[in-house]
Every structure is written in C-alpha cells, then in structure tokens.
Amino acid sequence: MARYLLKRILMLIPLMVGITLITFSVVHLAPGEPVEMQMAMNPKVGKEARERLRKYYGLDKPLHEQYFTWVGKLARLDLGRSFSTDNRPVKDKITERLPITLSLNIIALVLEFGLAIPIGILAATHRDTWLDKGITVFVFVGFAVPTFWLALLLMYLFGVKLNWLPISGLHTLGSDGYGVMRYIVDMARHLCMPILVASFGSLAGLSRYMRSSMLNVIGQDYITTARAKGLSERVVIYKHALRNALLPLITQAGLAIPGLIGGSVIFETIYSIPGMGQLFYQAVMSRDYPVVMGIVIIGALLTLIGNLVADVCYALADPRIREGRGAQ
C-alpha cells in the first residue's frame, strides 16, 4: 500500500508541472501583453496596478525566468494581489470563499451518489421493463437540461409562484438575531435549490454508469454460481453483486469533481451565493486577472487532490490494486 501511495504521489509532480505550464501560457499566449489588455478593458485600473502586474509576473524578464519566479511564488502560496479596489491578497480572497463552495459541492456529491446508486440498481435489476425505460428517459432528459435553465425554472416555481423557498443568498436579512435552530433552518431553505441544481448536473450520467456497472457484474460467473447454489435474489444482488459494482463508482466520484467545481460558477451566480464560483465570475467580469488565474490553479489542484483521494480509496477497497496485481 505504501509503495502504491508513493508511486501515486510521485505521479502528481508531472501533472502539477503541466497544470502550471498551461495556466502560464494562458496568461502569456493571449494576443497582446496581459497588461495591455487589462488597460484596454478596464480603464479604472491605474498605472500603479499595471506596474504591480508587471512586477508580479516579471513581464520584462525572459520567458523561462518569468515562469520559474511565478512557480516559486505559487509554491509559497503567493497568488499576487487583487486588482479590485480592496487590493487584498488573492490567497485571502479565495480562502474565505472556498469553504462555502467545498461544502456545497460535497453535499451535492453525497446527494448525487445517494440517488444515482439506487436508481442504477433499480434499472439494472429491472432490465428492459417499463421501470428501466422510464429511468432511461430520465437519464436522457437529465443529460440535455441546461443546469442554469433548471435553476431558473426552479426559481420561478418555488420562489416566485409558490413562494416556498428564498431565491438568493445564504441567509435572510437580519438572520443574525435568530436562535441556532432557526438560523440553520433558514440557511437550509436557502441551500435547497442550489444543491439540487448542483447535483442534478451529473446525476443522469452517474445513474447510467451505475446501471451498466451493475449489469456488467451481474453477467459474471460468480453471480451465476451464487444463484445456482440457491441464494435469494436479494442476497445475490445486495451482498455479492453490489460491492463489486460500486468499485468503479469511486473513480467516477473523482472524475465528477472538475464538473462540480466548474458548475459552481453557474449556480452561485444565479442564487447569489458568496462562494468561489461567484468570486470567479466577478473577477472575470472586472478582468481581475490575479484572481482569475488563482482560482483556475486552485480548481485544478482541487481536482488533482480529489482524484488522488478517489484512487487511494479505490486501492483500499480493491486488494488487487493495493497489492500491485493490477485490476480486472
């Protein structure tokens, strides 16, 4: 296990180098120097900010030198300072918003798996029945619904028409004076729609994946054996098949992370949730480059970490990988 872990962590190094290279080239391959663009798009930024950008990226130095100084700064978690009027370090701006986005996404991920696994099992065990067909239709609809449209429709239905749920923010104005219970209920009501929208994005794909994974396992010999020795269908499905069918889903959890993080831009903007996605959107709109680049890097690192955790969990669950015998 230790060897596997070490190998897996060493593999992160080239990926990390690649991520910084691509991010660096995004800043530099854009036509015109970023400083010039910055001035053209946002006249509010003064000469002083321009100098600061020049200094942070070292734009007057040769390209390779620029890259190494920048990576050096990244390693010390120095992401530069924001262009906005508050002029704060990008690191602080991101870290104060990251917890909201992370917890929302984790809740959404749990909800997604909590729904997709039973849906997938149902579809697989009732293969080619009306239930399975109904689920297939749901999956296709889920693939095609734009999340921001779903967000608007929910907002109209529950927020405007029925007036059941608040349509923006995390708290009601003046909720600071509430008791603990009321405060939590208030926040939960605000989060209902955003979490639903966030988890809907990949629910369809995940259900479908679970279905095919389950069908794949059910077709294997050991399941036929289990059935042949007279075990009840319940035991066969939930004790023998389910465990193996769940394994590939661990990898899927890792793969779902970039989509979730990217999607946070959309639902946080629509529902005015003060998370990293909203910060990113505001930074994009005001051409606040240091914040934009900082969030892109953080987003990629979160994905790397998510994939690492998923792989380690997989190895823990599957002895074939743990002991280096190779899977499948």
Binding site: P146, L152, M285
Partner: protein, 284 residues
C-alpha cells in the same frame, strides 16, 4: 469482414433507421437546421425590431413566444439564435474532434514516448475544470463567437483522443497494416488511408455528442454575459433577460431554455443511435 461502403449500406443505415429515438432526433436536428437557414422566411418580426408599445407581452397569436424587455419578438430571436448556437456547436465540435482524432491516431500509431507525452497532456487537461479554463481564456481575449468556438474546441478534444488512440492501438496490430507496410506505404499513408477509416466510428459519435456539449457550453457562457454579446441573439443571452425578469415574464425563460433542451436532446439521441448502429458487438 465486409467493406466500408457495404457496411454502411447493409448494416449501419438499416439499424439507424430502425431506432425510433435516433430517427426522431435526426428529424428534429434537420428541422432545426432548416429553421436556422430559412430564418427570414419563417419569422414575422425582425430579431432586432424594437417596439416600445409591446414590451414584455405574454405569448399571443401575434407574438408566439411573447416579447422581451425591449419589445422584440422572442420567437424571432430564438430562430435567429439557432443560427449562432448551431454554428458554434458545429465549429467547436469539429475543432475538438479534429484535434482529438489526429492526436489519438499519432499516439496510438507511434506509441512509445510520443504516446506517453500526449496521454499525459490529456491527463493534465482533464484536471482543469473546463468551464473555469474557458472563462479564463475568454477573459484575456474579447468575447466573440470565433474565440468561443476555438476555446470550446481546444478544451474538448481529450475524450476523442483517448477513444481514437485505443482504436488505433488495436488496428495497428492487424495483418492488413503489416501488409501495407510490406508493400512500402509511408506512415502517413498507413495512418490516414488504412487506420483512419476504421478508427473513425468513435469520432463520428463524438462529433454528434460534441455538438450538444458545445451548444450547452456556449449557452452557459452567453447566459453569464461572456459569450455571444447582445444585441446578437443567442439562446443563452435571451435567458439572461429571462433571469432579470423572472418575476414578470416566464416566457423569457421557458422558450429559449426549451430550445436548448430539445436541440441537445436530439443530438444526444442521434449520437447514441449512431453509436449503437456502429457497435460490432450488436451484430446479428
């Protein structure tokens, strides 16, 4: 093994025509294309035609999908928006699949360090939340539909590259490739004349599914105000005003979103149909 031409005539088309969902998808796709091309003949009002006396009118016989906050006909804007959305969808998917196919062929055919490097680039690109990367790049450029097509294409080739590489790896070992080598074919000829036609099926599916993905991304970008810029109509930016007037004008949200939904659904159904029709495991 049957030849390429007869496979399409004898197996692929009958199978595709037998799949009701795929046919329905194809019909909607065709109708949508026709509507986009013939837009001026279909609409009664111009997409830019302002009318101060008909602001935010609900759907009626005159304005089928109602009017927006400037009194423009929403039906007309959706039909003209189809031009933009479909154009971006086709171009972006085309760019993505082209890059993915070429890199996949090269990686699979040459193997070794070339393969290793290309596949690591794929891994790295998969680490970025794509939507972040697209937004970041657009920030440095100016929002225009040309940049949007290119950027969506540049961030959407990795899946195709993996599929085509896998296909190429297995084809490379076949006898007819060895035969081609023996008679002195160049690498380029082997790759493009002998491997490509047989590795093309994942690319065909990827184009269809890529179009729907690109339409979704473009509409999300336009919805956020970073994609197609008003007054040019796109399904995404009509929805932006839908959000602003959500309390008064449901039609501004329902119809453009519905257009995206139906289009994406049709391309997905068609794409899945093509995949099933090409699947050799389903051979009867």
């Amino acid at each position: 093994m049957i030849g390429h031409h007869s496979f399409f005539r004898a197996v692929f088309w009958p199978r595709l025509a037998h799949n009701r969902f795929a046919v329905a998808g194809a019909i909607v796709v065709a109708l949508m294309l026709a509507a986009a091309l013939l837009a001026p003949l279909i609409v009664r009002f111009g997409p830019y035609e302002l009318n101060a006396w008909a602001v935010l009118e609900p759907p009626s016989l005159k304005h089928w999908f109602g009017t927006d906050d400037l009194g423009r006909d929403v039906f007309s804007r959706i039909i003209y928006g189809a031009r933009i959305s479909l154009l971006v969808g086709f171009a972006a998917a085309g760019i993505g699949v082209l890059i993915g196919t070429i890199l996949g062929l090269v990686a699979g055919f040459y193997g070794g360090w070339i393969d290793n490097i290309l596949m690591r680039v794929v891994d790295i690109m998969f680490c970025f939340p794509t939507f972040f990367l697209i937004l970041a790049v657009i920030t440095f450029l100016r929002p225009s539909i040309w940049y949007i097509m290119i950027v969506i294409g540049l961030t959407g080739w990795m899946g195709v590259a993996r599929l085509v590489r896998a296909e190429t790896l297995s084809i490379r070992e076949m006898d007819y490739i060895m035969a081609a080598r023996c008679i002195g074919c160049s690498d380029r000829r082997i790759i493009f004349r002998h491997i490509l036609p047989n590795a093309v099926s994942p690319a065909l599916v990827a184009v269809t599914l890529g179009i729907s993905g690109a339409i979704l991304t473009e509409s999300a970008l336009s919805f956020l105000g970073i994609g197609v810029q008003p007054p040019t109509p796109s399904w995404g930016n009509i929805l932006t005003s839908g959000k602003d007037y959500i309390e008064f004008a449901w039609w501004l949200s329902l119809f453009p979103g519905g257009a995206i939904f139906i289009t994406v659904l049709s391309y997905n159904l068609l794409g899945e149909g093509i995949r099933d029709a090409l699947d050799p495991r389903l051979n009867r």
